[in-house]
């Protein structure tokens, strides 16, 4: 018994060291991303204005590439070889002209790109430490590693990084999210290890259930994905006015241009955010249902308007609002995006605020 307890405490200690190591590596990755952005700013890209057809001065590069197009004879030699047909896409009438995505933080700058790649490698390394840290914590308490706020937070940022790396592995273009993501992860881990830290420990009886695995892990994963959608939405809310400004023929400031040009187009950001939020919504619904089933077993009622339940419900309705808004003419675009931000704010409040400010049945935060 004593030996077991000692190994457990050792494991918990190791887990802490691993989390600290992950933070250190993430911090280096953060610096890498900063370098990527800084070096990237040397490159002058202004494809947006050119694409919008009204760009003055900046259009040179893009229009220069247009005459090159015919050089690629698409139909050439198509007689016998089975070449894939080329599909022309066009946006819906009335929407802003298609704008190409920005080239990413490094903007083609070799050095910037190198730093960016280093940052991603470091992120991967940090992620390995992070996973190991969460796993050892789980072994040390012999249960799911998400039963108090410290554990929620470490698992949450782990899922964020995991989702991001997974998208990169799947060749989705999400590198632009790197800097804000690492910043958030560092903040989250910083909060977790200082303010929210709780010694590893066993569970109160109500948490002894396999629903802990299902309900809480789903909530964390949903949160991580909602977070990605949130970053995209936020950037969209910066990028969209920028494009609108260019479209009007105005000239945005130098800094804004440098940053905005490297981001994906507003349309891409918006689409990315929508896809993620829409895809997560059913899972979030299931998270709430799973929680209700669990509450039915543990507390004798499946729904009792406990603060956590209230805010899960509010978050759910807010995301439903967002989805509805997108299907409603006149509410697309920035208005809908604002709703998405509100919805994510509700999620965050449910996650942090409710644990800290309210005293409900979900008071396991360990604070």
């Amino acid at each position: 018994m004593n030996i077991a307890a000692a190994t457990n405490e050792n494991l918990a200690q190791i887990s802490n060291y691993l989390i600290y190591s992950a933070m250190a590596v993430y911090a280096l990755a953060f610096i890498g991303h900063i370098a990527e952005w800084v070096f990237g700013s040397r490159s002058k890209v202004a494809r947006t204005a050119a694409a919008l057809g009204r760009g003055r001065g900046a259009g040179a590069e893009a229009s220069a590439s247009v005459p090159e197009q015919p050089a690629v004879q698409v139909r050439e030699g198509g007689t016998t070889t089975m070449e894939r047909p080329k599909v022309v896409t066009r946006s819906a009438p009335g929407a802003r002209a298609d704008v190409p995505d920005g080239p990413g933080a490094a903007a083609g700058d070799e050095q910037g790109d190198m730093y960016g790649r280093i940052a991603i490698s470091l992120t991967t390394l940090g992620f390995l430490f992070h996973v190991a840290g969460v796993l050892t914590r789980s072994f040390s308490v012999q249960r799911a590693p998400w039963a108090n706020m410290y554990e929620f937070s470490t698992a949450f940022s782990m899922c964020i990084v995991g989702a991001y790396l997974l998208l990169l592995v799947l060749k989705k273009k999400v590198r632009w999210i790197g800097l804000p993501l690492i910043t958030t992860v560092l903040l989250d881990l910083g909060l977790a290890t200082t303010v929210l830290y709780t010694e590893s420990d066993q569970l109160v009886p109500a948490l002894h259930s396999y629903w802990l695995w299902i309900h809480v892990s789903l909530a964390i994963v949903c949160g991580a994905l909602f977070y990605l959608g949130f970053v995209a939405t936020l950037l969209y809310l910066f990028r969209d006015p920028y494009e609108a400004k260019l479209e009007r023929g105005d000239k945005p400031g130098k800094f804004a241009t440098s940053v905005m040009e490297r981001l994906p187009s507003a349309a891409s950001l918006d689409k990315f955010a929508y896809r993620i939020n829409a895809a997560v919504f059913p899972f979030w619904t299931f998270t709430i249902v799973a929680g209700a089933i669990w509450a039915g077993d543990a507390w004798g009622r499946y729904w009792g308007w406990d603060p956590k339940e209230v805010w899960s419900f509010i978050t759910w309705v807010a995301y439903a609002c967002y989805l509805h808004a997108r299907a409603t003419v006149g509410w697309k675009g920035r208005k809908a995006a604002t709703l998405a931000l509100i919805a994510f704010a509700c999620f965050l409040f449910n996650y942090y605020g409710v644990n800290i400010f309210f005293n409900g049945k979900h008071s396991y935060s360990g604070l």
Partner: protein, 621 residues
């Protein structure tokens, strides 16, 4: 894709021409996408024609519009907030009382606004009832419309396919009829619904999206009805049971009981149980030392047939019987005492439950003895009041328990006699002593009689008034018995809603057209176009795949030289170079979302090498 247009003729266009072109384009797209969903159209807030019916119709239209649904949804989430900030009677009535005592000014205002009962308040109910009327008003016509769409065939192809969001074209030596026939077969095999008219084939797929959406909204209605039924017919009560005692599920046996407005006593399920044993395990070390880790109650229960069965009730594992569930809520200790009267006869014997005061189970309680005669044989009543401590630390000087298990049980009691106030028929708290008409026993020196007892000790009352013996300790458990209806419906509704949502959000409803006409040069021009409900990066990919498949029956022939074609093919020929540029963009979008990888990477790569090395390298990863 305005690169398509800007490349060729933006410079020549005047803004007015732009707008006109856009308007026709809009009209064409609208036609092509007609009946592709059942979402209601957006209506302006037109002022209705006068008259009651006009207004009623206007009101109904507004209520069932998507805009109002959105506003109501928003209000619903806003309305839920106060309930999490202000204590709620339904959640914690004690907290509500405390709040009311502290906030004298706010309380009347809050009470007026029903802020202590947000979720049953008039205004909150109004929001969700309106929302659900709106929902029904929205669902019913949409369902009919959808059934109509399933019955009819997809509408005919639009005139200009190249105006659609995804488009591709090629020339072939195959006959137009042959191409169309092949297209029909292919699309049917891919489970599109196909309608061939004239020189074009229209096909549509993804009806499950609409079905899923309707299913989701209907499931929400089911869920709400189940929830409402649950509230109206619910009943819930508590029962404290001392080890060895039993419970039968009738109203009189409950310690307290609450029920919904439509519940009647006949709804109670017929069952009962006996508490045989209770086990608790607590954290022995660490910062959460003393926290409960496991509670378990061993019970034997019977149902309608009367047969006794043994089982265990744990915190997450209630006993189920019919619509009822028995939950283990709390536990504590019940000292067993024997009280003798002035004559030495036993006036009371049994366990008395003491209620928990802190996490280490320091408990307070009372012993009431009604059938008692004093030393002179006169009828009187006895009341004992005090604390029970499962683990007493002698040296600590503290009367509080040090540990929640029975390690060193001690009871501290004082004694009263007089009128317990039980005879007036008024309900009385069995765990409290109303000392108003009671006299405290005094010691010889005049100080109140108080004694510390360990099991086996006896407390002698002065002047031969009798005695109380602390015989031992039993455990008790508190159970909540709740009667819930509609749970199955609620769960079914929720699960259906999720399934419907998945269909609604993961499936694209889209149309694909194929047109084949003989060009002036005798070759067949094949055009394919796709349109989805929402812009999707998957659609161009799918169209590419379809075109690729179709090309096995209609192989591409080299494009004719541009000059002789100018007349008949004016629309498609000049766009060729742009097609190339556009397909690159399409590729970028595809890659961004990561679905484009299947169909276009070759294009992107070859383009990257020849045309735009810098940017494509920058973008690719």
């Amino acid at each position: 894709m305005s690169t398509t247009e800007t490349g060729s003729d933006t410079g020549a266009r005047s803004p007015g021409a732009d707008e006109a072109a856009e308007a026709t384009e809009r009209a064409e797209t609208a036609e092509a996408s007609s009946a592709l969903s059942t979402a209601p159209g957006e209506e302006k807030l037109n002022v209705p024609a006068l008259g009651v019916i006009g207004w009623a119709r206007w009101f109904w239209r507004q209520l069932t519009s998507m805009r109002v649904a959105l506003i109501l949804l928003f209000l619903l989430s806003l309305g839920a907030i106060p309930g999490s900030v202000i204590p709620q009677t339904s959640v914690d009535s004690v907290k509500v009382e405390q709040f009311k005592e502290k906030h004298e000014l706010l309380t009347p205002v809050y009470e007026k606004l029903q802020l202590f009962d947000v979720y049953t308040s008039v205004w909150f109910s109004a929001i969700y009832i309106l929302l659900f009327i709106s929902l029904v008003g929205c669902i019913v016509p949409r369902t009919w419309q959808f059934v109509g769409q399933l019955r009819s065939r997809p509408p005919r192809a639009p005139r200009r396919l190249d105006r659609m969001p995804a488009y591709t074209t090629w020339h072939t030596d195959a006959d137009p009829e042959q191409v169309l026939g092949a297209a029909r077969t292919m699309l049917k095999r891919k489970r599109f619904r196909v309608n061939a008219e004239g020189n074009a084939v229209t096909s549509e797929k993804g009806y499950l999206r609409e079905a899923g959406n309707l299913l989701f909204h209907i499931a929400l209605i089911v869920l709400l009805l189940a929830f409402a039924a649950g509230q109206l017919w619910k009943a819930e009560g508590n029962k404290l049971i001392i080890q060895g005692d039993g419970f039968a599920n009738t109203l009189t046996q409950y310690d307290d009981f609450r029920s919904g407005s439509l519940f009647t006593a006949d709804d109670l399920d017929n069952f009962g149980f006996t508490l045989k044993d209770f086990h608790a395990r607590f954290e022995k070390t660490g910062p959460q030392k003393g926290s409960a880790r496991d509670y378990r109650a061993d019970i034997s229960y019977w149902e309608g047939d009367g047969k006794e069965k043994d089982t265990t009730v744990k915190v997450n594992e209630p006993l189920r019987s019919g619509d009822a569930k028995v939950y283990l809520m709390a536990h504590g200790f019940a000292p067993v005492v024997t009280v003798k009267d002035g004559k030495g006869d036993v006036a009371f014997r049994g366990p008395v439950a003491f209620l928990q005061q802190d996490t280490n189970l320091t408990a307070s309680g009372v012993v009431k003895v009604t059938d008692y005669r004093d030393a002179k044989g006169r009828k009187d009543q006895l009341g004992f009041q005090g604390f029970f401590v499962p683990t007493y630390a002698p040296g600590s000087g503290s009367m509080f328990s040090q540990w929640p298990e029975l390690k060193n049980p001690v009871m501290f009691l004082t004694a009263y006699h007089g009128d317990l106030g039980l005879d007036y028929g008024a309900a009385q708290n069995v765990y409290q002593l109303d000392t108003e008409n009671l006299k405290q026993f005094k010691k010889k020196d005049g100080s109140p009689l108080a004694q510390k007892l360990v099991p086996g000790d006896t407390m002698k009352l002065p002047d031969g008034a009798g005695s109380l013996k602390f015989e031992g300790v039993k455990e008790w458990a508190n159970f909540q018995i709740s009667h819930e209806v509609g749970n199955g419906w609620a769960l079914g509704g929720a699960m259906t809603a999720i399934a419907g949502l998945a269909g609604s959000l993961f499936i694209q409803r889209r149309r694909v057209w194929v047109r084949a006409v003989r060009g002036a040069d005798g070759r067949t021009v094949v055009e394919m176009a796709g349109l989805a409900r929402s812009e999707s990066a998957k659609l161009p990919e799918e169209l590419g795949d379809l075109a690729y498949t179709l090309q096995s029956s209609a192989p591409t022939a080299p494009a004719p030289a541009p000059e002789p074609e100018a007349g008949t093919e004016a629309e498609s020929a000049p766009e060729e170079p742009e097609t190339a540029s556009a397909s690159q963009d399409g590729d970028e979008n595809g890659d961004q979302d990561g679905d484009g990888t299947a169909s276009q990477p070759e294009t992107g790569e070859s383009r990257g090498d020849t045309a735009d090395t810098r940017s494509s390298r920058g973008e690719r990863q």
